[in-house]
């Protein structure tokens, strides 16, 4: 499975807001109503296509509990994108966003793309945080915003893909230093300068393209 770029994501937010469910919905396309508490960090991966390019997403789903906070912090620096998730049916998870954001800004590289996600949009009846509030928070802090439902899969794809698009755009704009892997971005094997130069000498210039 070749790819043009590899992006590393992390998912952060209070415990129980549905981080693991978002990941499961994105990677396995299924919803698990009863999920065990995430211990530490769990890994998931999926391939997406942006602008005709294969992009591999490696996603680290973190534990929301306070006791795992120090572990979570170790993942900020190496991530290109972060999904900051709150639960629209629990006001307190929205109130804690500022703390999360401070933490993220402090420990991550400054170019990390942060997507704010109001999850559980299927539970409209129990809504405590208005969509406008989420939008306002995102505008104020320069985040992308989206409401999702890991249960119905609404906007889940979009959340992950839009984040990737934003990162991709930043790469095109030259904001990201793609040669520094600490940024959470990696160029795919057949796209790296070394193998490209190999291809130049080879008989088939499109050999690299074929193996995608």
């Amino acid at each position: 499975m070749s790819y043009a770029y590899l992006f590393k994501y992390i998912i952060i937010g209070d415990t129980g807001v549905g981080k693991s469910c978002l990941l499961l919905q994105f990677t396995d396309k299924r919803f698990q109503p009863v999920h065990d508490l995430t211990i530490g960090v769990e890994f998931g991966a999926r391939m997406i296509t942006i602008d005709g390019k294969q992009i591999k997403l490696q996603i680290w789903d973190t534990a929301g509990q306070e006791s795992f906070r120090s572990i979570t912090r170790s993942y900020y620096r190496g991530a290109a994108g972060a999904l900051l998730v709150y639960d629209i049916t629990r006001r307190d998870t929205f109130n804690h966003l500022t703390t999360w954001l401070e933490d993220a800004r402090q420990h991550s590289n400054s170019n990390m793309v942060i997507m704010l996600i109001g999850n559980k949009s299927d539970l409209e009846a129990r809504r405590e945080v208005k969509k406008e509030e989420g939008e306002a928070f995102a505008r104020e802090h320069g985040l992308i915003f989206m409401e999702t439902s890991a249960k119905t899969a609404a906007n889940v794809e979009e959340a992950f893909i839009n984040t990737a698009k934003e990162i991709y755009q930043k790469i095109q704009d030259g904001v990201f230093d793609i040669n520094n892997e600490a940024n959470g971005i990696k160029i795919g094997p057949q796209h790296s300068p070394a193998s490209q130069s190999l291809n130049v000498g080879g008989s088939g210039g499109n050999q690299g393209g074929n193996c995608c």
Binding site: V41, F43, G44, A45, Q58, S70, I71, S74, H107, A182
Partner: protein, 936 residues
């Protein structure tokens, strides 16, 4: 420097005191001097003394040195000396100056550990060290790495927790791998090895920070397996990161790192390098590389994980490379063994990989399948023991969940497929089974067991195998030959191997059981074994297995053997052996140390031939059938409570609960079905009712139609009835009129008789009367005519009716009458049947309602039962818990006791007392303790 030299030259007893004094003086200088140069010199001097006088420097200088680390950060030189000094104090590693080790030994074995504890008491000290890593200066960075490594080595858990909490702590250590100075990078590998040991969260962070990529790059740059100890460190670190860490394994697979491992397995084809042989380092590296692969496909990993990795390993050609190592020449035996183990786990349970493995050919002339070549070494006494174990493991893995493979192996044993010219797996297995080497017997028996396990077709096929024993004598079946060998005694492993294959063969295969029982010598042999008095531990195993085999004969007995039917066998067991004794012998098997060892994992990790007793697959069979055998033999059928021991009873309750739950589900389904049924029935009743109504309506309509049809053209029967009535009434009228006529006639006569006198009085009345009479007579006549007319008409109608009824087909007009009649009749019949049906349906409905009620009741009862069982289970669990606690307490007590004994012993020793007797006691205690643990 001269005070320093003085110290070294002095005699030993003076050395300590003067060393301590010097250190004291130096410490004072470090703490009081205002000049940096002065302090630096003093620290350098301390560093020089720190290897020799660890205790003194550690106790006196620790705080002062920590102070220096904080105060003099600006001067890398003094920091470097300080770090080195601390490193020497903490390190328990033997130094170059071996003669002086004596001093540190005097102060206890773990001096470094104690100083480490003091150092990390304040986590800030560790934080400080981590900030030193930002310093690029070699004199700071390198000693920091070394110091951190030694701290981690001494107090791993504590250090791991401290570093985990430091923001970017782990990441900073990871960055060291990118240091351009090799020595720092290499020491960083050692540091990371210590850091990641047994800590899943740190392992994940390290992996997140691109560890896999960087380490694999280092391995490649260092020349892969041809590389030095750095490669070894790298591979150890990789293994640390992956072992028992599903998330990292998934990341490793998703990151396509398996593909990157593949080139490392490619053996050099260059004949020169082959001749050179394998260096010790290369052997180690290859070993670690193979173990790395095994970590990814270990049978103990989550199954989906293993399956996914197996698939990748086949796709990227890693399995192919492994198989070529397997068949290559010049590979050292231990590498070959590990390669076989690795191939085993890469193919285990994966159909595609198993198929590939079956197709691998060894480069011999003529080419033979790799499986055959491997089996040849398995049954060859001269091959190393571990290699033979690995081959068996490989063979087992090849057959695991592989029915095709199983049938292929059994095929080679069958007479039809036998090819005289080539060696087959079957021949090798038979050869091994009947060789004089007990280990070969065991290996072959277990291999054969795996060829038929959970595969009743192959069990039956294997019954067909006949062996030619000696010239002239008739062939003997394989089954009988196994029994014969068993009864001849032989070595322990031979007998256990045979018993295991027999148990596996007969289990779940009534035909094999009846074959076995058809030889009347077999059962008496087993009886004699089981009823024998207890021998040593090994005999106990044989006896237990014989009991198990006997139980299987009973359990899967289809009563075709007249001498040994199910009941007969039960009788024999109960009378000749006794239930108690039988149970004891059987339960002994699972209590055996070797059994628990074998049951742990499929891999055969034996180090010595004497450890070979049980097979993993057999332990599974035993576990699954032990209770059933006991139940069957004890015979009461519902002897669930008859079994002993607290352990299995929770199991029983679990089973019971499960059964009940299943039953509950079944009943629920049943109720649902019945409810659906009633709903259907209700619906059909409603339908039928409406049908009845419709029919009634139709009926009425038909009647009405009939009415409307009859009046205009021809009088219809109902109308003819009506006209008959009319006729009747007319007749009656006529009668009345006649009577009236008679009366008037009489009156007239009377009046004529005595009425001449009246003639004059009433001359007119007679005329009137006569006129009226005449009129009435006319009227009567009219009426009569009318009656006749009507009668005629009636007759006509009747005739017509008859005509119509007799020849309905002739009728062309709207003669619905007869048709209607028949239809009427039909509908009436239908109606009748419908009402009957309805009645029966109502009855059924009633019945099903009753049944529903009953089921609901049973469900309630079952739920109560379930609750009760759950409660019981809880209490049992609590009991278990308390027992465990008690055991823990006891263990703690024992440990205390041990230390006390130790103390007393040393004291006694010091007092000059001989303490050998105590040693024995102590050993016994220890043994008991171990036994207790095993029993659990």
């Amino acid at each position: 420097m001269d005070y320093f030299r003085k110290v070294l030259g002095a005699p030993q007893d003076v050395q300590t005191t003067s060393g301590a004094e010097t250190i004291e003086r130096l410490c004072e200088r470090v703490s009081s001097s205002t000049l940096l140069d002065d302090r630096r010199d003093a620290v350098r001097a301390l560093k020089a003394l720190s290897k020799k006088f660890r205790l003194e420097v550690g106790t006196q200088a620790m705080d002062i040195l920590l102070n220096v680390l904080e105060q003099d950060r600006g001067d890398s030189e003094i920091i470097g000396y300080t770090l080195d000094t601390l490193y020497h104090v903490m390190s328990n590693e033997p130094t170059d100056e071996g003669t002086y080790q004596y001093w540190s030994n005097m102060a206890g074995t773990d001096l470094g550990g104690q100083f480490t504890e003091i150092f990390i008491k304040h986590a800030e000290n560790v934080h400080l060290l981590l900030t030193f890593l930002e310093e690029y200066d070699f004199h700071v960075r390198w000693p920091t790495v070394k110091l951190l490594t030694v701290l981690l080595t001494n107090r791993q858990k504590e250090l791991q927790e401290i570093i985990l909490v430091v923001p970017m702590g782990v990441s900073r250590l990871m960055d060291l791998l990118s240091d351009s100075r090799e020595i720092i990078r290499n020491d960083a590998l050692l540091l990371l090895n210590q850091l990641t040991k047994g800590h899943a969260n740190i392992q994940k962070i390290v992996a997140f920070d691109n560890a896999f990529e960087r380490i694999i790059d280092i391995v490649r740059d260092e020349g892969a397996t041809d590389g030095g100890i750095v490669v070894e460190d790298c591979l150890l670190l990789l293994q640390n990161l992956l072992r028992n860490n599903a998330s990292n394994q998934n990341f490793f697979k998703e990151g396509s790192y398996i593909q990157k491992l593949k080139p490392f397995f490619h053996l050099d084809d260059d004949p020169h390098s082959k001749q050179a042989g394998w260096s010790a380092q290369k052997v180690t590296n290859m070993h670690l590389l193979l173990q790395l692969v095994r970590t990814l496909v270990s049978p103990n990993n989550p199954q989906n994980q293993t399956v996914a990795c197996q698939k990748v390993m086949n796709q990227c050609g890693l399995l192919q490379d492994l198989c070529s190592i397997l068949m290559a020449s010049g590979v050292p035996a231990d590498v070959l063994t590990e390669t076989i183990n690795t191939v085993s786990e890469v193919i285990r349970g994966s159909q595609i990989n198993q198929e590939y493995f079956a197709s691998v050919l060894a480069p011999s002339t003529p080419p033979r399948p790799a499986i055959v070549v491997l089996l040849m070494s398995m049954v060859n006494e001269k091959q190393p023991f571990v290699l033979r174990c690995a081959v068996l493991y490989c063979f087992q893995s090849f057959l695991y969940k592989n029915e095709v493979g199983q049938s292929q192996i059994i095929q080679t044993l069958l007479p039809t497929a036998a090819d005289a010219h080539s060696i087959t797996a079957g021949q090798l297995l038979c050869g091994g089974l009947f060789s004089s080497d007990p280990l070969s017997n065991w290996f072959a028996a277990v291999a054969l067991l795996h060829a038929i396990v959970e595969n009743s077709t192959q069990k039956e096929q294997l019954l067909r195998v006949q062996l030619a024993t000696s010239l002239g004598s008739p062939p003997v079946s394989l089954l009988q030959q196994c029994c014969n060998m068993l009864s001849q005694g032989g070595k322990l492993q031979t007998r256990i191997g045979l018993l295991m294959i027999l148990c596996g063969w007969l289990a779940d295969c009534p035909i094999a059981v009846s074959h076995f029982l058809s030889n009347t010598a077999n059962v008496p042999y087993l009886i004699s074994q089981v009823s024998a008095s207890e021998g040593d531990e090994h005999e106990a195993i044989v006896q237990g297995l014989c009991a198990f085999l006997l139980g299987i004969c009973m359990l899967y007995n289809d009563d075709t053997s007249e001498a040994f039917t199910k009941t007969a066998l039960k009788q024999i067991i109960q009378n000749r052996i006794g239930l108690e004794s039988f149970t004891d012998k059987l339960t002994q098997v699972a209590q055996n140390e070797n059994y628990t060892r074998a049951a742990k994992k499929p891999h055969l990790y034996h180090k010595h031939p004497s450890e070979i007793v049980f097979d993993y697959e057999f332990t599974r069979l035993f576990k699954s059938l032990e209770n059933e055998v006991l139940k069957a033999v004890s015979g009461t059928g519902s002897s669930i409570n008859g079994r002993k021991g607290g352990g299995p009873s929770t199991e029983q309750y679990k089973h019971l609960l499960k059964d009940q739950e299943d039953q509950l589900i079944l009943l629920r389904q049943r109720v649902e079905e019945l409810q659906n049924h009633t709903i259907d029935a209700d619906r059909s009743i409603v339908e039928l009712r409406s049908q009845v109504q419709q029919l009634k309506d139709q009926n009425a309509l038909l009647k009405a139609q009939k009415g409307s049809h009859s009046s205009p053209p021809l009088p219809q029967p109902a109308v003819s009835n009506f006209s008959a009535e009319e006729v009747e009434s007319l007749r009656r009228e006529v009668e009345i009129l006649k009577l009236q006529l008679q009366e008037t006639n009489n009156q007239l006569l009377n009046s004529n008789l005595d009425g001449d006198e009246n003639k004059e009085n009433n001359p007119d009345s007679a005329a009137v009367l006569q006129a009226s009479l005449a009129r009435q007579q006319g009227e009567l006549k009219n009426k009569d005519e009318e009656i006749i007319n009507l009668q005629l008409e009636l007759e006509k109608v009747n005739i017509l009716l008859k005509q119509k009824s007799s020849e309905p087909t002739d009728s062309v007009g709207p003669d619905t009458t007869s048709e209607a009649e028949t239809r009427l009749q039909a509908t009436e019949e239908k109606l009748h049947s419908v009402t009957e049906e309805k009645q029966s349906l109502q009855e059924r409905l009633k019945k099903s309602n009753e049944e529903n009620l009953k089921l609901a009741n049973t469900i309630r009862v079952m739920e109560d039962e379930k609750l009760a069982a759950e409660e019981e289970k809880k209490t049992l669990k609590e009991d278990l818990e308390t027992l465990r606690k008690e055991q823990d307490d006891l263990l703690v007590l024992l440990a205390d006791q041990d230390t006390k004994i130790d103390k007393y012993k040393t004291k006694l020793k010091e007092l000059g007392q001989e303490v050998e007797d105590d040693d024995d006691d102590d050993d016994d205690l220890g043994d008991d303790n171990e036994d207790d643990l095993d029993a659990d």
